[in-house]
Symmetry: C2
């Protein structure tokens, strides 16, 4: 079981060495993270991009490009198409965004010929470790699906649970969050949370335990859960997956945790044939490296 | 300007000594907070409740009841009605919940004869201090109004700004939060945030600067704001007030900050004739004392 990012990183060591294909690699912060990931044994990289722009960045960061396979393509859209095709055909195990706008990057991910479509909806999984807690939390969706329908939420749970399984947790506890822990017809979010719980009970969602609606304290704080009444509940402060009502709730919480609480985190896009790493420019190198480690573990599980 | 809870507490020292009326005072954690508030000079208290239940609790907590005015009323609803009437008639400056359920407590707050109605909607304000930051943040609404309409949001801003002014910040910056910082017709929250911004520009909301929609990082992190483009914005990582899209986003963020990040906080109910303190059983003594200090400062400003 992954107890935190340190454990996740040591789990990577037991995986076969992975390869990440970088779309439009002329990006300083991305190259920095790629170099750390390589030296720490997390993954090798194929850098697809404009070589005459990659070279000076590598020089400045003291990165020896002879440690990498570089494919010189000037046009960003073409570079992304080449980079994603390397994952599509199995040459690389995961796909990472470089200096390309998100829209064009996602177009390459969804490309019908060379992309990573599975038919499932794509969703974003953010993995957190909180100070003083020896476990990982999986938050979704904080960045990708604006107003998930019930069907979308089922897909988000399935996508996320696949990532949790890859991290070594066999039957994660999934908490569909709301402001309250009781079903209230005036709050559609609570009705949907209850419906997801029943779908899991009926075997329509598998590989996890779903119990909602839950307020965040009852989902993650065993003391609060016991205090406020945990009778008949399947989650008593021990949730692994936190499912958000919508992107606003998810994104604001995510940014509170990263900007105000400086929690360790990493994140990937899932629902795809292979892990996709789509970190933001403002993410630290540590976050990018954590995301690559997460991608490596997920790629290992997918290839089994 | 209040730079944090320590400054807020020292601000209390310059106020005239306040009095809090406690509804159904036979509540250990509340009495503990009341005693700390008294000994630290934040407020005296009138304890309204069942004396034969108050006495053993006071004894166990080594609280000398001769330091308090006690009004012996056994029935909780009657006790609350008496306690709120003391604030209504000016005998006390603020009103606090003891061992009574929230519904009955709020009934007393809204009582047409002896309550604290103003005609304005009631809203909840939560005040946070984050580690390493020398300022207070005012979050609303995380606990009271489930799905605020545009009009409700205007009222929430007005209620909250009154509290911020009381804390010594003359023209607070109010950030209506969303997952994104651009108006998107497919995300009604962003349209409303833009409308609130315009209402402020037209002078329909006063005493503050409103700028939204904003993602949380752009609202509170100057570096992120500069990085992502702050041109033409009135808030560049320097928001004082964080307005949430709905209770789910607000409540989940609030609980992440309190349960995962252990941030200092205090909170009051406002929109009333006098501050109302409605802390939760799971709040620590520190939170309750911070809330009383906040109430004292707000009561001082209201009486001016």
């Amino acid at each position: 079981m992954s107890k935190g990012f340190d454990d996740l990183l040591s789990k990577v060591a037991s995986c076969s060495r992975k390869k990440v294909s970088v779309a439009v690699a002329q990006d300083g912060p991305v190259l920095e993270a790629i170099e750390v990931a390589r030296t720490r044994g997390i993954a090798d990289a194929i850098l697809v991009g404009d070589l005459k722009k990659i070279q000076p960045i590598a020089e400045e960061l003291k990165i020896d490009l002879s440690n990498y396979e570089v494919i010189d393509i000037e046009d960003p859209v073409e570079a992304a198409r080449k980079a994603v095709s390397l994952v599509h055909d199995g040459t690389a195990d995961m796909y990472m965004k470089g200096l390309i706008n998100t829209k064009d990057f996602l177009k390459s991910v969804l490309d019908k010929e060379v992309g990573l479509r599975t038919g499932k909806p794509l969703s974003h999984v953010c993995v957190f470790e909180f100070e003083g807690q020896q476990k990982l939390y999986f938050l979704s969706d904080v960045a990708f699906i604006p107003y998930p329908t019930l069907e979308d939420k089922k897909a988000i749970i399935e996508n996320t649970v696949e990532i949790v399984h890859a991290c070594g947790i066999d039957c994660p506890k999934v908490a569909p969050l709301a402001a309250v822990e009781v079903v209230n017809p005036k709050m559609p979010v609570t009705v949907e949370a209850d419906e997801l719980t029943k779908m899991c009970e009926r075997g329509e969602i598998t590989g996890c335990i779903v119990d909602g609606p839950l307020s965040l304290d009852l989902a993650i704080d065993p003391e609060a859960a016991k205090h406020k009444g945990a009778e008949g509940r399947k989650i008593v402060g021990d949730a692994d997956v936190l499912l958000f009502p919508d992107i606003h709730a998810g994104n604001i919480t995510y940014k509170a945790l990263t900007h105000l609480c400086k929690c360790k985190n990493g994140n990937i896009l899932t629902g795809t044939k292979a892990p996709v790493i789509l970190t933001s420019r403002s993410d630290s190198t540590e976050v990018k490296v954590n995301s690559l480690a997460l991608g490596a573990v997920v790629a290992e599980a997918m290839n089994k």
